[in-house]
Structure formats: structure tokens, C-alpha cells
């Protein structure tokens, strides 16, 4: 795995590094002999710069949900079935009985 990705993974999964102070970062970064620009981006928490240095897209579309009413197959199975067109509307009396 790429050394920078390895480092990010370590920062993400190691509890002792999860909220490491910037002043402590060199103890983790120095042994990896990373490019100085990469080190700078990590120091400055500049993810846009880091993305550029890794030659990757920083701006990504992360919306994967449509806004409109779900298609019929997405609806919950326990929705009440629609009444046939000729079913009379419930009388006010019936509604009061239910309440």
C-alpha cells in the first residue's frame, strides 16, 4: 500500500494517534521518510492539497439518494392497500368510532 495511505489508515485506526497533537506528528511522520509537501499537507490538515499530491480527485459527488417519491417497489410492505375506486369514503361517524 502507498506509504501516505498507510499512514492515513494508521492515523484512523490507532487510538493513540487518533487525536495526536501537531507537535507529536513528526514522531510518526519522520520514520516514513515522506515527501516534504505531503508532510506539510498533513501538518496543516489540508486535505485538498493532500488529494492533489496523491494525484486524486478531491471534489467528489457523494450524494446517492434521490429526492422524489420512492418507486412502488421501494415502499414499505405494510402500507395499507388502496381502496377500490368505488369504495365510499368513511362516514364521520366511523372515524369517531375509531378515535
Amino acid at each position: 500500500m502507498n506509504k501516505v495511505l498507510q499512514l492515513l489508515q494508521r492515523l484512523g485506526e490507532d487510538a493513540s494517534l487518533r487525536n495526536i497533537a501537531t507537535s507529536q506528528l513528526p514522531t510518526v511522520l519522520n520514520p516514513l521518510n515522506l515527501d516534504s509537501a505531503v508532510q506539510q499537507a498533513i501538518f496543516e490538515k489540508d486535505d485538498a492539497m493532500l488529494a492533489r499530491l496523491l494525484d486524486t480527485t478531491n471534489k467528489i459527488v457523494c450524494m446517492i439518494f434521490p429526492a422524489e417519491e420512492p418507486a412502488p417497489q421501494d415502499q414499505p410492505a405494510d402500507l395499507p392497500a388502496k381502496q377500490p375506486a368505488d369504495t365510499p369514503e368513511p362516514a364521520e361517524y366511523d372515524i369517531k368510532q375509531v378515535v
Partner: protein, 275 residues
């Protein structure tokens, strides 16, 4: 190639969640599915995380390319599902790796699994740590305390919903509020004014709300911006921003039901059989 018990065709699809934060949230099982797949389709919240997932398998394909400027996202989603199903039909073990939880506010994984199952292929979902999970932790709120309603922001605007201002209201994808074309990656002030119009029916414009963005890289801090509701119109929002509206009113006791419950309890106590 794989044929699971109880299904009649070779080929499968598993949609896994990578969680929100690189390295922090992916489950051992989800990682194992990615590593053992014949082909992995990936859709995550940033390019670095995409690169990280790409190093877990020799055949990782980004779904980002299906988003095109001015193209309805619905069409993009359908193309993503089609791309995954094509590989399943070729008899491959397909994995869809989606950021957060693959089943929360995510149309593509649900559709890919439903279609694969309908065609007789093995298909299932593995959960992940969602943006909602991170929001609860970072904002230190418990949805059980006052209750919590979640809506996709545009859908919230398109339909008449019953809002309970005594509960939390969480609106996702607020950066594209009101977009009916599904082709915009952000909507501007006039759209937010209309959102405000809907919210103003239930909340004061001075009510303090929160804009939240979860951490995707472990070098970041979550975005937690507190502001009066009225300032939402000019706030900086993007695809990752979530609007959190804390309760604005007190819960009103349902006295009629409380009285009936008290009567029921008294009846039970009076009719207890002696031991």
C-alpha cells in the same frame, strides 16, 4: 466465482459500508468482502478514500464517472446499478463499497441487491458506520431523548410532512435543497429561502441550528457550525452538509392516554391474585 446455497445462479453481489472515516470505521467483514471480490465498485466521499479502497483489491472500479454535469443523478444511479449487475450476470463475486452505511440514504445499493435477488443471484448488505452515527457522537445527542425525524431535504420540501418541533429534525443533502432536476450539485439562495419558508411554519428564524459534516479523513475535524435558522440562506453548504434542528418546543403530555394507563395499572393491581 461463487454459488451460494438457496440461489440458482453463479454470481453474487454484496454491498458493504466503508464507514465515514478512512481507517477508523470499516468492519473486518466488509474489508474481507472487498479483498476477496472478483470486482469491486466503489463510491465514497473523497478521492483519497477511493484510492485507499482501490489498494485492497486488484479490480476496483470507481462509480464516480457515472455522475455527469447537468445529467439527472437518477440516470447516474440507474447506470451504476446496471454496471454492477452486468458483472454479477457474468458469474462474478461483485462488491459495492459505499461510504457510510450502504443502506442509509443510498438508492444504488438497495436497487442492486433487489435486482440481483429478483434474477436469482445471491445478494445482501453489510452495514457500516453512517454519517448519522458520527453526527450522534460528535454532537453528543441521543435521538431517544426527544425523538428524531430524518428527511432528505428536497423530499421534505416536495411533500407535506408532519413535523414535531419537540423532536430533533435532521435534513440531509441540504446543499441541494429543492432541486427537482436532480442535476444540480448545489442550489442557491432562492431555493434555501423556500426551505426557510417551510421551516418557518414550525420554527422561529432565530432558533439555533447546526450545520454538520462528518470526518472522512483522520486528519480532519468534524464541521459543527451553530447559527440562527435565518442565516441558513447564506451559509456555506455542500453535498456533505447536514442540517440539524434541535427541539424548539417542549413535549406535550398526552393526558388522556396517561389517565387511561393509570386506570389500567390500578385495575391490574386490584385484580392481582394472592400468591
Amino acid at each position: 466465482m461463487q454459488q451460494a446455497a438457496g440461489v440458482d445462479k453463479v454470481g453474487s453481489v454484496v454491498c458493504v459500508g466503508t464507514g465515514m472515516t478512512l481507517g477508523s470505521h470499516i468492519s473486518p467483514l466488509s474489508r474481507s468482502y472487498i479483498e476477496q471480490a472478483d470486482v469491486v465498485f466503489v463510491l465514497v466521499a473523497d478521492g483519497i478514500t477511493e484510492q485507499w479502497v482501490s489498494q485492497m483489491n486488484s479490480d476496483v472500479r470507481s462509480l464516480q464517472s457515472y455522475y455527469q454535469p447537468d445529467l439527472s443523478r437518477m440516470l447516474s444511479y440507474q447506470q451504476m446499478v446496471a454496471a454492477m449487475l452486468t458483472e454479477v450476470r457474468l458469474g462474478k463475486k461483485v462488491v459495492g463499497a459505499f461510504y457510510g452505511h450502504p443502506g442509509v440514504f443510498a438508492w444504488v445499493p438497495h436497487q442492486a441487491i433487489a435486482k440481483a435477488k429478483a434474477e436469482g443471484f445471491a445478494a445482501h448488505m453489510e452495514p457500516g458506520i453512517s454519517a448519522e452515527d458520527c453526527l450522534i457522537a460528535d454532537l453528543a445527542i441521543d435521538p431517544g431523548t426527544y425523538g428524531c425525524q430524518h428527511f432528505e431535504t428536497s423530499q421534505f420540501m416536495f411533500y407535506k410532512r408532519t413535523i414535531d418541533p419537540a423532536a430533533y429534525l435532521i435534513l440531509w443533502q441540504v446543499g441541494v435543497a429543492g432541486d427537482r432536476s436532480l442535476a444540480k450539485l448545489s442550489t442557491g439562495e432562492p431555493y434555501r429561502q423556500l426551505l426557510l419558508e417551510v421551516l418557518a411554519e414550525h420554527y422561529s428564524l432565530t432558533h439555533q441550528v447546526i450545520l454538520y459534516e462528518a470526518v472522512t479523513l483522520p486528519i480532519q475535524q468534524p464541521r459543527i457550525t451553530r447559527l440562527p435558522l435565518a442565516e441558513l440562506v447564506n451559509a456555506e453548504l455542500d453535498g456533505k452538509t447536514t442540517l440539524v434542528i434541535p427541539p424548539a418546543t417542549k413535549m406535550i403530555p398526552n393526558q388522556a392516554i396517561l389517565d387511561k394507563l393509570a386506570a389500567l395499572q390500578a385495575y391490574e393491581q386490584n385484580n392481582q391474585q394472592p400468591e
